[in-house]
């Protein structure tokens, strides 16, 4: 029996974390703007980029 792969579990956990962060109702929280750029735009791309950075870190680091 193969034991659960920790890297795969961490990535899946990231995916699960992404679901509430990138859907409603959390999505309706950011409002107004920052430096002329709408907060929603910054929030969406920011969370997305954060997930990518974390995924890269989890997937590429050496054991």
């Amino acid at each position: 029996m193969k034991r659960a792969n920790p890297t795969r579990q961490r990535l899946a956990a990231l995916g699960l974390l992404g679901v509430p962060l990138l859907t409603y109702p959390l999505l309706s929280l950011p409002s107004g703007e920052l430096g002329g750029i709408p907060a929603t735009y910054l929030y969406l791309f920011g969370v997305w980029a954060g997930l990518i950075v974390l995924a890269a870190w989890v997937a590429e680091r050496r054991k």
Partner: protein
């Protein structure tokens, strides 16, 4: 400058370049030096980004604001479920899966019916998506031609049709050059990765040009948009559309793995599972980058062309052209061309494999068996079928474009396809994780979901373009209100995609689960279910072979392989297989279950698992294994696994026991060695005084003429050495008693001050003789300790006599201090002798180890005093140690703990 011919030439040149990349990739693959790295794999996933992304997202953003992002967030989240994808890859490799239709069919008992159904759904579902590419390319050519006032016509055919023809030719060139056993096309993957780079560069170049060249950056664009009431709306999310947002994320998350071309690239073309580790973040990063400028482009276009009626789907081209940046517009055109060709090539190759293996072949095999039997080499026929399928699929795309294309924006068309392939999800996921899912359940689920999709999404799209009456949309079928196509059972208020997703999934999952629970799988289904769900455990080829029983003729099998793979390739594979079984030639192999298994899996690679099973069955007389028997064999395999796990556990226990034994043995050997050393040392210590005694007494005995002075001196030495010998023997016995725990202890209340004073008094003479000062600082009223008085005196005398031994006569000085502190009594014996090095501070407590040069007083030291003292002090729970530095004297300290408080309350010495 942008004449029709120039554009056609440029496009052809670019396609030629793509083709060169593919040829290079194929050549490297043939030479065994694959260029498919983790990065190439990750980039090839970006075949997901089609004209939809390139042109359509901007158009979508002009009406829906940020909602276009859902199409890219879904895949990001889905890819993070790496485990699911790895399982799909594992299963596909183990089962020689060549397409998503093959996957589903194989799981549910290699069912030709299911393979055909999935193929039909995939083709019908994806045709609009191909139409979308044609539409986008036609629009982009029109924009360029309009700009230059030129036109492009050959034989009176419209440009869209010409584009479809060119794409068909290219797809045929790319994908069906030869018939791979595994259906892998490394050259195509390389070309797709290449075009992915081209399209992101082109799109970002336009994005940067518009944002920073035509406007003053992101902030400027957003602020100007916010100033307008219409555009300001696009900057905010509309929370009333929360349901659509989530639905689109789910839909695109499913599409990223179930679209035929995505399944092809992610699963079939995967050469190494570990490549996923890169793809899991690099592909989402690609999606993020290509989307950053979508909203700015949409806003820029709306601001720039305010009210000019320019199609937002073409902003990527029209914005640069409006500023006269023709080169940039051409780059954008190439990017869009890239996106469309990449999609069309991979999609049609994937679909043509399915059409050939799962639709045409079964029909040919069934209806005109004679026809197939008459032909010796069928590999040419297979390729022909695939080529025809590619042409047909593009033709269907063109027809859909003519029929419904005008009514929808690009994204709208694409979503129809997404909703179609989402119907595969229950059968796929259920098949991978739920053994009870049956063929009947899968058929029912797919059929129900597909029909709902057809009724609520595809047919209304025809109706919208006026191709058929729209009565069933507006008033419901036969005028029944709750059958309104896009408000089924009165479910209104949703957009059409969410509406379709909701109802089709309900029907699909419901039918799949309900029918599965009420049907029994047959033997093949049951064994395939085991193999799919337990793929990580199920790798025993032995079990595979045991699941087939019957008679087969080796010649017939070889013939079969030669006919479908082509003679050369078949012989190559057969030779490799014979080698793996240790036979010189395949002719020597028995046509056993293993051989049949090999032949079937080779065939599956070429014509799909369902057809392969039929073909093998046609030449081999298979005994029908009953369901019970299959389950027994599988059970047995499971038990063997469990048994071998038990054996492994026993093995590990034995190994652990062996290690323990070995350690114990080593410890014993070490003890034996220590005992040996001890005896050798004791012998040495005993022989040394004996030597002087024997030598001197022999001389005295033999020579009576020795003068009186020498005689007296010698006798004195003899007496001293005899005393030393006695002391040594006593101490060795004492040590042995202490160590074995057989020493006798008389424990009583002891006043440490008194012990110290008495010890000092008894050695006063010794100190006076050597002229060494002995000072005491002993307070009265110390608490009693519970200990053996004589033993403590022994320790004290040992420390004092050591001290006097090492200090110089005349200037020597020994100080004794006694102090009671928290819970213990502390005794110090400090001298001003030569001191000890840090190493000596440790070794002097070992047996027979003495510090410094003891030449002068050697006869007095036995090397056992300190080890014995330490044993005594430790017996009473105290410590004995030394603090010293060379040249600074030594301070021997020992402590004796006081009894527990309730024992000695009020027992102070008065």
């Amino acid at each position: 400058m942008l004449s029709g011919w120039f554009i056609a030439l440029l496009a052809t040149a670019y396609l030629g370049l793509l083709f060169a990349v593919a040829r290079f990739g194929d050549a490297r693959a043939d030479a065994g030096k694959s260029i498919i790295s983790a990065n190439v794999y990750a980039l090839s996933l970006a075949v997901y980004c089609t004209s939809w992304t390139f042109y359509g997202s901007v158009g979508r953003a002009t009406s829906g604001g940020l909602s276009f992002l859902t199409i890219y967030i879904g895949p990001t989240l889905m890819l993070l479920c790496v485990g699911v994808i790895i399982k799909m890859i594992r299963i596909s490799k183990a089962q020689r899966i060549t397409s998503i239709a093959d996957f589903i069919a194989s799981r549910y008992g290699k069912s030709q019916l299911l393979a055909g159904m999935v193929t039909v759904i995939a083709v019908i579902g994806v045709v609009p998506y191909i139409a979308l590419q044609l539409k986008a390319m036609a629009a982009s050519v029109d924009v360029l031609l309009e700009h230059s006032g030129g036109s492009f016509q050959v034989l009176g055919l419209d440009s869209t049709f010409l584009i479809a023809v060119v794409l068909a030719l290219f797809s045929i060139l790319f994908g069906t050059r030869h018939l791979d056993a595994t259906e892998r096309h490394e050259g195509m993957v390389a070309a797709v990765a290449f075009e992915s780079v081209v399209k992101i560069v082109a799109f970002m170049a336009v994005g940067i040009f518009v944002t920073y060249g035509m406007f003053g950056g992101l902030g400027d664009l957003f602020q100007r948009a916010a100033a307008s009431a219409d555009l300001g709306r696009l900057l905010q999310l509309d929370s009333s559309r929360a349901g659509t947002w989530t639905a689109l994320i789910i839909l695109s998350g499913l599409a990223i793995i179930f679209l035929p071309r995505q399944f092809q690239i992610i699963v079939v073309e995967n050469v190494d599972e570990s490549h996923l580790k890169r793809a899991v973040w690099l592909f989402p990063l690609y999606l993020l980058l290509i989307n950053i400028f979508v909203l700015p482009l949409a806003l820029g276009g709306l601001l720039h062309f305010d009210g000019q009626g320019i199609n937002p789907d073409t902003f990527v081209l029209t914005l640069p052209l409006a500023r006269g940046a023709e080169v940039l517009a051409l780059l954008a055109f190439i990017g869009g061309l890239s996106a469309a060709t990449g999609m069309v090539i991979v999609e049609t190759i994937a679909l043509s494999t399915m059409v050939c293996n799962d639709l045409v072949m079964p029909i040919l095999l069934r209806s005109t068996g004679n026809f197939v039997e008459k032909r010796n080499d069928l590999s040419g026929l297979l390729i022909g079928i695939r080529r025809a399928a590619i042409a047909l699929i593009l033709l269907l795309g063109y027809i859909y474009f003519r029929a419904a294309g005008e009514a929808y924006a690009l994204v709208g068309i694409g979503l129809i396809s997404f909703a179609a392939v989402a119907q595969f999800a229950p059968a796929m996921f259920g098949g991978m994780y739920w053994k009870q899912g049956t063929r009947a359940g899968a058929v029912a689920g797919l059929l129900a979901g597909f029909l709902v999709w057809l009724y609520t999404l595809l047919l209304p799209s025809f109706a919208k373009s006026g191709w058929m009456t729209s009565g069933f949309v507006e008033n419901g079928l036969f005028g029944i209100g709750w059958l309104k196509a896009q408000a089924l059972f009165g479910l209104a208020g949703l957009d059409e995609i969410s509406h379709c997703l909701w109802w089709s999934m309900l029907a699909n999952i419901g039918a799949y689960v309900a029918v599965s629970l009420n049907t029994k799988p047959d033997a093949v289904e049951a064994s395939q279910a085991e193999r799919f769900v337990d793929v990580f455990r199920f790798d025993s080829r032995n079990t595979e072979a045991r699941l087939w029983r019957g008679k087969a003729s080796p010649d017939a099998l070889v013939q079969l392989l030669e006919r479908f793979l082509g003679a050369a390739r078949a012989r190559q594979q057969l030779a490799a297989y014979a080698g793996s079984r240790g036979a010189e030639h395949w002719g020597n192999l028995p046509a056993d279950a293993d051989f049949v298994q090999f032949a079937e899996s080779e065939l599956a690679g070429a014509i799909g698992s369902a057809s392969a099973r039929v073909m093998v069955a046609s030449v081999a007389q298979e005994e029908d294994l009953g369901l019970e028997e299959v389950l027994d064999i599988l059970d047995e395999a499971t038990q063997v696994r469990a048994h071998s796990r038990e054996l492994e556990a026993k093995q590990r226990e034995l190994e652990a026991a062996t290690t323990e034994l070995r350690d114990a043995n080593d410890r014993l050997r070490e003890l034996d060695r220590m005992k040996d050393d001890f005896i050798s040392t004791v012998t040495h210590e005993l022989r040394t005084p004996l030597t002087s005694i024997r030598a001197l007494s022999e001389m005295l005995h033999e020579d009576p003429r020795i003068d009186l002075a020498d005689r007296t001196r010698f006798l004195g030495i003899i007496v001293n050495e005899a005393e030393r010998l006695t002391r040594l023997i006593n101490q060795i016995l004492d040590m042995a008693k202490l160590e074995s725990g057989r020493a006798e202890w008389t424990t009583s209340e002891v006043d440490m001050g008194e012990v110290v004073r008495e010890s000092m008094a008894s050695l006063e003479q010794l100190f006076r003789e050597k002229d060494v000062a002995l000072e005491g600082d002993i307070p009265s009223g110390l608490p009693f300790v519970l200990a053996d008085r004589d033993r403590l005196t022994q320790v004290m005398i040992n420390l004092l006599s050591n001290a006097v031994k090492f200090v110089p006569g005349g200037t020597g000085r020994v100080q004794v201090r006694v102090a009671g502190s928290a819970g213990l009594v502390r005794i110090e014996v400090r001298d001003n002798g030569p001191g000890l090095t840090p190493e000596e501070c440790v070794v002097i407590f070992e047996k027979f180890r003495q510090g410094g040069n003891t030449m002068t007083d050697k006869p007095q030291g036995t090397g056992l005093g300190l080890p014995i003292s330490r044993q005594i002090v430790e017996y009473f729970g105290g410590n004995l140690w030394v603090e010293s530095e060379p040249g600074a004297g030594a301070n021997f300290i020992f402590t004796v703990p006081l009894p527990a408080p309730d024992d000695n309350s009020g027992r102070q010495v008065a």
